[in-house]
């Protein structure tokens, strides 16, 4: 009988790797937290960094959320160990989705938090050590090769034009309307920007 999730997701969900058991003992070099219990997904991620080589030597986490969220953070923690800070910073939801052999469409947004938690941990490490952040990417990566549509265009559609559904995004940009192979990634990128936008709006309200 099939599961709604892939075998990889099932594995990471039933046997999550790198759970943070004792935060004090771990003595993190950087810590990031994203999400909140209100929306149903929340993650904290902690890293240890080899200062000379700027490599992540250990990564642990805790997650409040569904099977997608738990397995995303678990697989991400495995991916991150051994990477340079720069490489880790570039991990995107599509990479996580690939490692998990995919998630159902309505669950993609649960995987979009993990990489932000990791980037947040790296940002924290850099800040603690007064190091500049040279890793922030500029959204020029092309997502839809047929129509030459970049991350930045998706961001504009979300932030400036208010796109919140994939249909709306396609309405504004025509992304994925040719061969369609970029659609899963386009959805993930859209979710990223929506989440960022919502967090920005929350912060503005609090001010």
């Amino acid at each position: 009988m099939s599961w709604v999730y892939s075998d990889k997701v099932k594995d990471h969900f039933t046997n999550p790797k790198n759970i943070l058991e004792n935060e004090a003992e771990f003595n993190a070099d950087g810590k990031g937290d994203v999400g909140n219990a209100v929306c149903g997904d929340m993650m904290i991620m902690v890293i240890k960094v080899d200062k000379e080589k700027q490599i992540i030597t250990d990564c642990k986490w805790k997650t409040y959320g569904c099977a997608s969220a738990i397995s995303s953070t678990s697989v991400l923690s495995e991916m991150a160990i051994g990477l340079t800070l720069e490489e880790a910073y570039q991990i995107k939801p599509k990479h996580i989705l690939k490692e998990l052999d995919g998630l159902p469409n309505h669950k993609v947004h649960c995987s979009v938090l993990g990489d932000r938690a990791l980037r947040s941990a790296i940002d924290d490490y850099l800040q603690r050590n007064n190091l500049p952040n040279t890793f922030k990417e500029t959204n020029t990566e092309i997502i839809c090769k047929c129509l030459n549509i970049s991350r930045n265009e998706i961001k504009i559609a979300v932030v400036e034009r208010g796109a919140r559904t994939f249909e709306e995004l396609q309405g504004f940009t025509k992304i994925g309307t040719s061969c369609g192979s970029c659609i899963p990634e386009a959805r993930a990128v859209m979710e990223e920007f929506i989440q960022e936008q919502e967090e920005e709006e929350e912060k503005m309200k609090k001010k």
Partner: protein, 395 residues
């Protein structure tokens, strides 16, 4: 399907073995009940019998029973009836006079809430009454919401998620006082608490087959003989011209048998289920810290237990439980493809986390004490494991 511990009877129930027998027999009675020859008459007689049994169960008259395709259809029929009644009975110059206002509760089933949202776009005004922390509608709120244009109060007899039983008899009194129609969605209450339509004094009442060990695809609408009913589906004389379409004969015959079995089994079964739920509830209270019980402690369905497990999320609980062969449901936003948490839990407690961490256990006639013991053995480690993963659990 492997044998599982099925604790999701409020979602749907397995078919009673006696109902299954009746259905298999009914398959061979293929006639159209509207036909005058014997192939048709044998079926129409069976439907007459089924209708009588259903009407007896709720202390109504056969003529007051309409068989529909589902509880949702019955609910839609009532709302459509109120709407049609006004729109058809006014002249052009009176268009102001037929303002329609309907009162309902915030915790109704989507087949009431979403249908009302649709009617709001057509100009109907709706008041969605809040509930207290136990999910109970306050009588004072009902009375205060009534206006000259109020045509209907529709409030469920018992809630499917948290089990709270509403004071429908008292609400009906208020409705009568103000000459307002009263409907109650009794889908979840049927077969769990006594239903007497004369005692309740309601105008309409909805029931559904697949919650009472009958098949999916058949429902009932009780229509108090005082009331006219406009069809939702036109085009035939079936069901007293209330609902066109050749009858779901197998489903209706199954309903009759299911209600017959309910009259025989309900009392002892409910006492048994109440004990099992009590054991499950006490077991959780003893073994799992940081939980809260959702719903009213006493005025609640005997088979339903809804618990919020703090610090963890419902879909992950549900899937771990599924791996142990236990079937339950959750109010979390992450389950079932909707991104909204349970509107029922949100109505009794405004913290969404309480909805995200909620699990509903609803037992039925097939559940045994051994199964309850199994759940109490398997659940605490699941909760503990998920709490160890959670950033919110800092104990």
């Amino acid at each position: 399907m492997d044998k599982i511990v099925y604790l999701d009877n409020n979602a749907t129930t397995p078919i009673h073995p006696e109902v299954r027998k009746a259905m298999i027999e009914a398959i061979d009675y293929y006639g159209n009940p509207s036909s005058m020859h014997q192939a048709g008459r044998i079926v129409s007689d069976a439907i007459v019998d089924a209708r009588k049994i259903v009407s007896n169960f709720i202390n109504a008259n056969s003529k007051e029973i309409l068989f529909t395709g589902s509880g949702s259809e019955s609910n839609n029929t009532v709302l459509n009836n109120v709407f049609s009644n006004c729109k058809k009975n006014i002249s052009d110059t009176d268009s102001d006079k037929c303002k329609i206002h309907i009162i309902t509760s915030a915790i109704e089933h989507p087949s009431i809430l979403e249908t009302l949202e649709h009617y709001e776009t057509l100009g109907v005004e709706v008041t969605y009454l809040p509930v207290d922390e136990f999910g109970m509608v306050r009588l004072q709120d009902v009375e205060e919401a009534i206006r000259p244009s109020t045509k209907l109060i529709t409030i469920m007899l018992a809630n499917n998620e948290i089990g709270t039983i509403q004071p429908i008899k008292e609400i009906a009194k208020i409705a009568r006082k103000h000459n307002v129609l009263i409907h109650t969605d009794a889908v979840q209450a049927t077969g769990k608490i006594n239903i007497d339509v004369k005692d309740l004094d309601v105008d309409f009442l909805t029931m559904s087959g697949h919650k009472i060990y009958a098949p999916k695809g058949v429902g009932v609408l009780y229509v108090n003989s005082k009331n006219k009913l406009y069809p939702l589906i036109y085009g035939g004389h079936q069901e007293n011209k209330w609902r066109a379409g050749t009858e779901n004969t197998i489903g209706i015959i199954a309903m009759g048998r299911a209600f017959e079995l309910l009259s025989e089994e309900m009392e002892t079964e409910m006492a048994r289920e109440k004990k099992l739920i009590g054991k499950l509830k006490q077991g959780f209270i003893d073994k799992v810290p940081y939980i809260s019980i959702n719903g009213h402690p006493e005025i609640s369905l005997p088979n339903t237990l809804n618990i919020t497990f703090d610090y963890i999320e419902g879909e992950s609980i549900l899937l771990y439980a599924d791996m142990e062969g236990i079937a339950v449901s959750t109010g979390s936003a992450c389950s079932t493809g909707s991104l909204e948490p349970s509107h029922v839990i949100m109505a009794i407690e405004s913290r969404p986390e309480r909805a995200h961490g909620s699990v509903r256990f609803s037992i039925g006639r097939n559940n045994t004490e051994e199964e309850i013991d199994y759940v109490l053995e398997k659940f605490p480690p699941i909760i503990e494991k998920l709490r160890k993963l959670s950033p919110l659990y800092n104990i």
